[in-house]
């Protein structure tokens, strides 16, 4: 579904050139849930923007559904760290924004409206359709944002630390909801995070990136049955083992640097 070959990204900053990403080769299969994990400044958000077509790569190639990425695609949605809701629009009309912007859609507006109601119900926001964003809590706002990124049934969802600004409890709730939605919809998801817990709970595969320049350190498969949870469950040992391994991979770079 997503194919990155020899992707590199160089920025010309004020203090000279900065290599944000180097030699990234990654193939994400259809329906797969991949998390990109790494310290801040490892270029994981940049990588996501390359896939989204928001930024052209300096070198290498990016393809989605076997087509080279030249700009944002209709079947790829992007979810940000902050809810990024338009403050003057109601919850429902925020969810409908993508449909309104890109009129060349295949379904009628009424069909999308029904879908919007369905999605809002799925995340427990029925009855809030006419509210304005500032009337909602941070977690509820991010749920609206999730509905917005699902409204056009994307093939690929790109998520840039979408839960990192939320409190721990809301965060757990939302990652459980995301798993549930994922199991229903079979969307391909690339999810950026700096939280090991989140990576382990959500991913089929975890890509560990090293900082400056961002390179792929390792790819870890996670085959713990779903739905996963951080709470007491049958797979506590597996979750702990993989968490420990990711932890080691993330801190290894540091010891290498010291040498």
């Amino acid at each position: 579904m997503i194919r990155l070959d020899g992707v590199g990204q160089v920025f010309d900053g004020r203090e000279g050139r900065v290599t944000a990403l180097e030699k990234i080769d990654l193939h994400v299969r259809g329906g797969e849930f991949v998390t990109l994990i790494g310290r801040s400044g490892c270029g994981k958000s940049t990588l996501l923007r390359l896939i989204a077509g928001l930024l052209p790569p300096t070198s290498g190639s990016v393809a989605v559904a076997d087509e080279p990425v030249t700009g944002p695609r209709r079947d790829v949605s992007f979810m940000f760290q902050r809810p990024a809701l338009l403050p003057w629009r109601s919850v429902l009309s925020n969810v409908m924004l993508p449909v309104e912007i890109d009129k060349g859609s295949d379904r009628s507006k009424a069909a999308y409206r029904d879908r919007a109601h369905q999605l809002l119900e799925l995340v427990g926001l029925q009855g809030f359709e006419r509210r304005l964003p500032h009337e909602l809590s941070g977690g509820m706002q991010q749920r609206v944002s999730l509905c917005r990124s699902l409204i056009r049934d994307p093939q690929v969802m790109l998520m840039d630390e979408p839960f990192s600004a939320l409190d721990a409890l809301t965060r757990t709730e939302l990652s459980e909801e995301l798993q549930r939605i994922k199991m229903e919809l079979s969307t391909t998801i690339v999810f950026v995070t700096h939280s090991i817990e989140e990576a382990v709970v959500l991913a089929d595969r975890v890509v560990v990136l090293t900082p400056r320049p961002g390179r792929m350190r390792d790819v870890v498969d996670i085959d713990i049955p779903r739905p996963r949870s951080l709470a007491q469950n049958a797979y506590v040992t597996e979750v702990a083992t993989i968490s420990a391994r990711l932890h080691a991979l993330l801190s290894e770079k540091e010891s290498e640097d010291r040498r």
Binding site: L54, P72, R74, F78, F80, A84, L86, I101, H134
Partner: protein, 259 residues
């Protein structure tokens, strides 16, 4: 724990408190004229002023109408010219550098100094007054509009890009809407200046308007009449200002929460 008092939380208090303040000021004024037995040609009592107004309400109200019309015409003209200029400035750095010092220069000129020139150029009709109002209002409207247009959060711009929004969509559905509260702040500053502009215009080469009335009453030492005209000017200013506040409340209900 401090309990919010009735005086800060109740909507009734929001109306009653300003009235009490106003009544107290008038009482103080009245008291001063009585206690220090000030001559009416120096400081008339509020009662004298009220009697003066109700002596010939039609005449004073028609003068008020003249000033109001000039104020509104100049204000609307300032919006019609100022907002597009601000939008152009925001779009082009070259234009901004070219025009900004010019705007600053024009704004720094004491407007009173220009009033006689305007009469020379445009005669004794309402135009020099309208242009004076325009000169007063122009700067705050341009500055606040430009500021507002620059304040769009990056994640919202990125959202629109990721949805493949056209430049026009990005402008109308995001940037302009987001700037509206700040544009309104500029309007609110400008409307008070507009009234001042009209009076300045009427001080020079006018045959009607409240500014003309004040000037004439100065010449004939009719302090009471001057006070009546000044009162009417303040009432006009207050009504115009709160009219804008009301309009903002109706048009931008989403913006209330941000303050």
């Amino acid at each position: 724990m401090t309990k919010r008092s009735w005086l800060t939380s109740s909507p009734a208090a929001a109306v009653i408190l300003p009235i009490i303040g106003l009544a107290a000021a008038i009482a103080l004024w009245w008291g001063a004229t009585v206690v220090f037995s000030i001559a009416p040609y120096l400081l008339p009592t509020p009662w004298d002023v009220a009697v003066k107004f109700f002596d010939q309400p039609g005449v004073l109200l028609s003068e008020t109408g003249t000033s109001l019309l000039e104020t509104l015409e100049g204000f609307v003209l300032a919006i019609v010219i100022g907002v597009p200029i601000a939008l152009l400035i925001v779009r082009s750095v070259i234009l901004e550098r070219l025009v900004y010092p010019l705007l600053l220069m024009v704004n720094s000129i004491p407007k009173v100094a220009v009033a006689p020139l305007l009469v020379v150029w445009m005669g004794f009709g309402q135009w020099p007054k309208v242009v004076m109002v325009l000169l007063m209002c122009f700067f705050p409207i341009v500055i606040s509009t430009a500021q507002g247009m620059k304040s769009t959060p990056t994640e919202l711009v990125e959202l629109m890009r990721s949805l493949n929004a056209t430049r026009a969509q990005e402008f109308f559905k995001l940037r302009l809407r987001y700037a509206m509260p700040q544009i309104f702040t500029g309007f609110k500053v400008a409307i008070s200046l507009a009234v001042i502009g009209a009076v300045i215009g009427e001080f020079v080469g006018a045959t009607k308007g409240l500014g003309y009335v004040i000037q004439q009453s100065g010449a004939s030492a009719d302090t009471t009449l001057a006070f009546a005209a000044i009162m009417l000017l303040s009432v006009m200013s207050i009504i115009l200002f709160y009219g804008l506040v009301l309009l903002e409340h109706l048009l931008l209900p989403w913006a209330q929460e941000k303050r």
